[in-house]
């Protein structure tokens, strides 16, 4: 059983990868789409066999605690700030996400995931960098839901939000929010796959999990990841990263 | 048994004018014109299904006629305050008998003190004064019927409608309460319209009578007048007459209980009529003896019954006797 995060499900990538994996190996993968926090927690409780997450800082802690092991860098995509076309904080056209967060903090509104996901952790990190207490941002609220639902709420409430590119592209046709800031190096979203440590969680099926992780970093799969979304959105949603190091992506 | 002011000479309390009620394309009531007298007890009498209850519902405004109007006398206060209705089945709301009796008075905005007094009076009249604090749903059948009546009477409405007020009683209870009800109705002011299918009740309680058969009024007027001049054989039979056609082709009504077997030398009462009677059975009913048989006339035979007086010698089945009856009326003349 594989636990993964919502943003990969909403973008549809796993809908492509899971059947491919089944054809190659005959192994079926049950996708439990939860926030990164819950994916971690499920791993920590041994309810999942493998995880695919994107919250590098906290991942390091779970590797240290021995809950998960054999981490492999799979791919990355990036976050972007989206907001209402009226852009009350006048962020559009700027390039510094920290300055943009400060501008949004003055005007609001901002809709947060608030679900403990990697996206929310990224958002908190950005507020921290900007030196802002997010609870004091006017009109900031949290949905406690996945990225897709949060985009819909932000759209209806004419609010800014932080989203991964894959989900935004998948929802672009349905919402009026527009990208107001992208391509800042702070906005990188790196996915690692892990095997739940069978030494710590006896029910975890480590062999199957290893097959899944190996599949994700195999060259053929990496090509599929690199091409995913291009046909539909005109641009790829993920950048395949197998074989690269964290440092090359700017992670510490 | 008549009470003061029962003449009905003044303006009528209720007038039916061109009233028709149709259900599923069947006319169940057709009353071109009928006036019910004020300040009197009018009984609506007839077989079940004849439209009696429908007439009460029209008066109460619970139904509208498909044609025509039902008018209440001016000064009755309209249907809301002017009419009280005692339904055939006693239905009570949750709560005590007192609460049930007070509800209508509360809805008619009667002041609290007067409410208490009127409920007390009506309950005592109907013999349920001791039951006022009882849960209304725990009353016996007879008690419920009395409470049902008391609830209607407590309203003191100008027009009181009572639908078979004795129907739920057993035979013994009915006889006892019939006496009470007769007294009670005579004592009250106001108009009463009472529905019954029972001849004895009708004769005991009514000042006026309306005979209703299959949705049509067969006879209407003061009780005595209706009794003395039944308009047709069917009505006469409803009123208890034995109907025969005599040798001259005249239709006669023999009043109930009027037939006698003459004894030797005793002369016939003046105006009495004689008939030939063939004995079929002799019945012992307790201390009484009844003779069942047929009156024989040139026009045919009519089944009837004669009660023997004490001392009469019982006849033998098959025997043909000469019998007599006083007070016979001509029908439809």
């Amino acid at each position: 059983m594989l636990a993964t995060t919502t943003s990969t499900r909403d973008s549809g990538l796993l809908d492509t990868l899971v059947p491919l994996f089944r054809r190659q190996t005959g192994i079926d993968v049950k996708v439990i789409a939860v926030g990164t926090g819950a994916a971690r927690a499920m791993a920590a409780r041994g309810d999942a066999d493998a995880v695919l997450v994107h919250a590098w800082e906290s991942e390091k802690r779970y590797v240290a605690s021995g809950d998960v092991r054999d981490g492999r860098l799979v791919m990355h995509n990036d976050f972007l700030l989206v907001g209402p076309p009226a852009d009350p904080a006048r962020v559009r056209g700027t390039r510094d996400v920290v300055a943009a967060m400060r501008a949004i903090a003055r005007t609001g509104p901002f809709i947060s995931r608030g679900d403990g996901s990697g996206t929310e952790q990224m958002e908190r990190a950005l507020w921290r960098l900007a030196g802002i207490d997010p609870t004091r941002v006017p009109g900031r609220d949290a949905t406690g839901q996945g990225m897709g639902a949060t985009l819909l709420v932000a759209d209806q409430r004419r609010a800014y939000t932080l989203t991964d590119r894959a989900t935004y592209l998948a929802f672009r046709e349905r919402i009026r929010l527009v990208p107001v800031l992208e391509h800042d190096p702070h906005l990188l979203n790196v996915y690692h796959a892990y095997v739940v440590n069978p030494a710590k969680h006896r029910r975890a099926k480590a062999t199957l999990a290893r097959a899944w992780v190996s599949f994700l970093v195999a060259p053929a799969t990496q090509d599929v990841i690199g091409a995913f979304g291009r046909a539909r959105y005109g641009q790829a949603l993920f950048v395949p990263d197998a074989g690269k190091t964290e440092a090359q992506l700017g992670l510490k | 048994m008549s009470r003061p002011g029962t003449g009905g000479a003044g303006a009528p309390a209720v007038v039916f004018d061109g009233v028709r009620v149709v259900r599923e394309r069947r006319t169940i009531l057709d009353v071109p014109r009928l006036a019910l007298p004020a300040d009197a007890v009018t009984v609506l009498f007839g077989p079940n299904g004849g439209g009696k209850t429908t007439m009460l519902r029209l008066i109460a405004g619970l139904e509208r006629p498909d044609a025509g109007v039902v008018r209440l006398a001016a000064g009755a206060g309209g249907r809301r305050d002017g009419v009280a209705y005692g339904f055939q089945e006693p239905v009570f709301l949750r709560g005590t008998v007192r609460m049930n009796l007070e509800l209508g008075l509360t809805l008619r905005k009667v002041p609290p003190m007067e409410r208490v007094a009127r409920v007390r009076a009506a309950a005592d009249e109907c013999g349920i004064g001791h039951l006022l604090e009882r849960d209304a749903r725990t009353l016996s059948v007879g008690e419920a019927q009395r409470a049902n009546l008391a609830r209607a009477l407590a309203l003191g409405a100008p027009i009181t409608l009572l639908d078979e007020p004795l129907a739920a009683f057993d035979r013994v209870g009915r006889v006892a309460f019939l006496d009470e009800l007769a007294v009670l109705l005579r004592r009250r002011a106001g108009t009463v319209v009472l529905v019954t299918h029972d001849r004895e009740e009708a004769l005991r309680l009514g000042d006026h009578m309306v005979v209703l058969v299959a949705g049509r009024v067969r006879a209407a007027g003061p009780l005595r007048a209706v009794l003395e001049r039944p308009p047709d054989p069917e009505t006469a039979e409803l009123l208890g007459y034995t109907v025969v056609v005599d040798g001259r082709g005249v239709t006669l009504g023999i009043p109930p209980g009027a037939l006698r077997i003459p004894r030797g030398a005793v002369p016939l009462a003046p105006g009495a009529r004689c008939f030939r009677f063939r004995v079929e059975r002799v019945l012992e009913v307790g201390l009484e003896t009844r003779v069942r048989g047929r009156i024989l006339t040139p026009a045919g035979e009519v089944a009837t019954e004669i009660a023997l007086l004490a001392g009469d010698v019982p006849p033998v089945p098959g025997e043909v006797l000469e019998v007599s009856a006083a007070g016979c009326v001509a029908i439809g003349s």
Binding site: V34, G35, G37, A38, A39, R40, A41, M42, I111, G114, D115, G116, D141, A142, T143, G144, Q145, G146, A149, L152, V153, Q156, R157 | R57, A60, G61, L62, R80, D81, V83, A84, Y85, F87, E89, V91, L93, R94, L103, G104, L107, R108, R151, L155
Partner: protein, 231 residues
Amino acid sequence: MRDLLAAFARAFDLLASGDPALYTIMARTLVVSGAATLLALLAGVPIGYLLARRRFAGHTLLLGLVNTGMGLPPVVVGLFVWLVLARSGPLGDLDLIYTRRAMVLAQFIIALPLVVGFTVTSLRALPERLPDLLRTLGARRWRMLWLLAREARLGLLAAVMAGFGAVVSEVGASMTVGGNLERSTRVLTTAIVTETGRGDVPLALALGLILLVLAFAVNLVLTWAQTRGSR
């Protein structure tokens, strides 16, 4: 098992600590579901009365709709209300989507068929002649409705319990039209979903226990009223 015990402890701690965020969510849950139930009662009892006592064109159709509506999936109601209230929808200009009012509306739609259905059943159980009796005693329209409702109060309390129980425990519609916004529209059920998604299973379970306690407390009050009313 450890999680379950932890949940009990956590629920107790949360309640005892007087955590303002928790009490805000509890109060919000009560207000939203209470308002929806109350509105459903105000609209549903007269509709139920008409269905129970009158025959009119479309009577059977409406009754069928009510019976179907008693099992309406909340999430479908939520989607429908979302489409109507979204900014692109027919009532988008009201700007109601992702507000408590939107949640009340959705929950009202969920509770209404239940209230109507229970009202029809309980009014039909009354003696057939009762409305005629009340009319001749002098009751008109609203007074009549009130008196009949009082007679049928046991059944109507059951309607309240069914309606409130359905909306306080539903999550689909509240999530869809309320958006589960932390500061304005998060209620106990959507909070449970969030905490489950976040991986904080003990907190989610604790919230579930609190929801049960809340629903139980409300039903206890109503049941008390019911037994008192049956005397």
